[in-house]
């Protein structure tokens, strides 16, 4: 709970910063800003409702497992 409160507080700081600097940069920057905050808010809401959040580690495991596991097993068997 405290983590969520802290995250919301940090986001408020971020929004205040946007208003303070009000950059005249490209629209892409604003989009990216909203996208990043969108991810943060989604993560917070998923945590609040106890919905499992996407795991980046699982994505990497799935991507590299076909190469990693045989190589590691081969090395381990030879080493033991």
């Amino acid at each position: 709970m405290s983590g969520i409160v802290l995250s919301i507080l940090l986001m408020l700081i971020g929004i205040a910063e946007w208003r303070r600097f009000s950059p005249s940069g490209p629209f892409r920057l604003a989009l990216l800003y909203i996208f990043l905050y969108g991810i943060n808010v989604a993560m917070i809401l998923l945590n609040t409702w106890d919905v499992p959040t996407p795991s980046l580690g699982e994505l990497i495991s799935w991507l590299t497992d076909p190469v990693a596991r045989p190589a590691f097993d081969w090395l381990r068997v030879g080493a033991s």
Binding site: S2, G3, L6, S7, L10, M11, I13, G14, E17, W18, F21, S22, P23, S24, G25, P26, R28, L29, L32, Y33, L36, Y37, I39, N40, M43, I44, N47, T53, S55, L56, G57, I60, S61, L63, T64, D65, V67, A68, R69, A71, F72, L75, R76, G78, A79
Partner: protein, 381 residues
């Protein structure tokens, strides 16, 4: 168009090459000196210190190729080089891969700090206060720019060198060189098994520093050679930490310690004069980790800046830090998970961006150069 009051990126205030070398050295020590000894000793036993040197040798093309690539493309970052070589579409996809790599590495580094603090020092405290502390420093350091980061690195390097030198000196009376024998008892395959996780963590990770540093310095002649020398110095330092751990605890015990460097520092001291110097070692370790996190953070933000073609990304630093904070809470639920991740997946994943991608980019650059050379010759004829 209304003038912006957004803080400008001051590109003329760059870091010196010496500061860049200090950053690379601290980056290599980073989280590795605390976690690697256990992982590597469980595979290579008393030859773990040799495995580190082998791993450094295997992974050395990564910083070399990344630096060469960035240099060939007018001192851009590696993400900028992706766009130059592969064009706007394929380049963006590959560049996004690099950015994601840096992001995931930032999560790992942040989580390592939280995990260490909650396991060894403050078991009742949750992860996030520690994560928040180091991420706040990372945001602040990124906003201050490369010059300040370089000076910060230089200052921390002195602290780290002094603390480690004293730790090693205070351990001299407790060393058992016989723990290192027999050398290569398990054959070459065991040595390679030990080297396998270390290739990815931390040596292939150096692509983050080498792929980001060139636009931040005024490159002197021989800079690549100096960076490679620093890379190998970092490898020797990691090897030295493992060598001392093995000589104090022996291979069997080292393989079962959670954080061998911390236990090593607990052993260091001169009887009744200086005892229990582990808080000093802890400060030095936090310094290394902080530098690693700042560099990953800067790599990600500058990568996004290049991909999205925005003037600067100071504004994105807080939401990115919040994202790292949130993901670090959920990713890597335990130390067992972390060790499995490093053992199995990290080296192939790092090789994808540390070896394969730079090799591909260099090959395309070379082929394009050949094509340009031929068309130039035809025009002359």
């Amino acid at each position: 168009m209304r003038p912006s009051n957004f803080p400008p990126v001051v590109r003329d205030r760059l870091m010196t090459p010496g500061q860049a070398q200090a950053l690379l050295f601290l980056f290599i020590l980073g989280t590795a000196i605390l976690i690697i000894p256990t992982i590597i000793t469980s595979h290579a036993q008393q030859d773990a210190w040799l495995s580190v040197l082998l791993a450094a040798l295997v992974a050395c093309p990564a910083p070399l190729m990344t630096l060469s690539l960035c240099r060939k493309h007018r001192g851009q970052t590696v993400v900028g080089a992706c766009l130059s070589v592969m064009g706007p579409y394929a380049g963006t996809v590959l560049g996004a891969g690099f950015v994601f790599y840096g992001f995931y590495l930032s999560i790992h580094v942040t989580k390592n700090v939280g995990m260490f603090m909650t396991m060894m020092l403050q078991p009742e405290t949750p992860f996030w206060p520690f994560h928040l502390l180091i991420l706040t420093v990372a945001v602040y350091a990124y906003r201050l720019g490369p010059e300040v980061l370089g000076r910060f690195g230089q200052l921390l390097l002195i602290i780290v060198l002094v603390v480690f030198t004293f730790t090693f000196l205070f351990l001299i009376g407790k060393l058992h060189p016989e723990f290192l024998f027999p050398v290569l008892d398990g054959g070459w395959r065991r040595l390679v098994a030990g080297a396998y996780p270390v290739v990815g963590f931390p040596f292939l990770e150096t692509l983050v520093v080498c792929g980001w540093i060139l636009p931040q310095i005024q490159e002197p002649p021989g800079f690549r050679r100096k960076m490679m020398a620093t890379y190998f110095l970092g490898a020797v330092a990691v090897s030295l930490v493992i060598l001392f751990t093995l000589m104090v605890f022996g291979a069997e015990w080292t393989a079962h310690l959670s954080f061998p460097l911390y236990s090593l520092a607990q052993e260091a001291g001169i009887a009744d004069v200086i005892e229990r110097i582990e808080p000093l070692t802890l400060i030095a370790w936090i310094a290394c980790v902080q530098i690693k996190l700042i560099l990953c953070f800067a790599f990600v933000l500058d990568g996004i800046c290049t991909l999205v073609r925005v003037p600067n990304t100071h504004l994105l630093s807080i939401p990115l830090a919040v994202a790292i904070l949130l993901f670090a809470e959920k990713e890597i639920p335990s130390e067992v998970h972390l060790i499995e991740n490093v053992n199995l997946y990290w080296t192939p994943y790092s090789a994808l961006f540390g070896l394969l991608a730079p090799l591909l980019l260099l090959a395309v650059t070379w082929i394009r150069g050949l094509g340009k050379g031929k068309s130039g010759a035809q025009e002359e004829e």
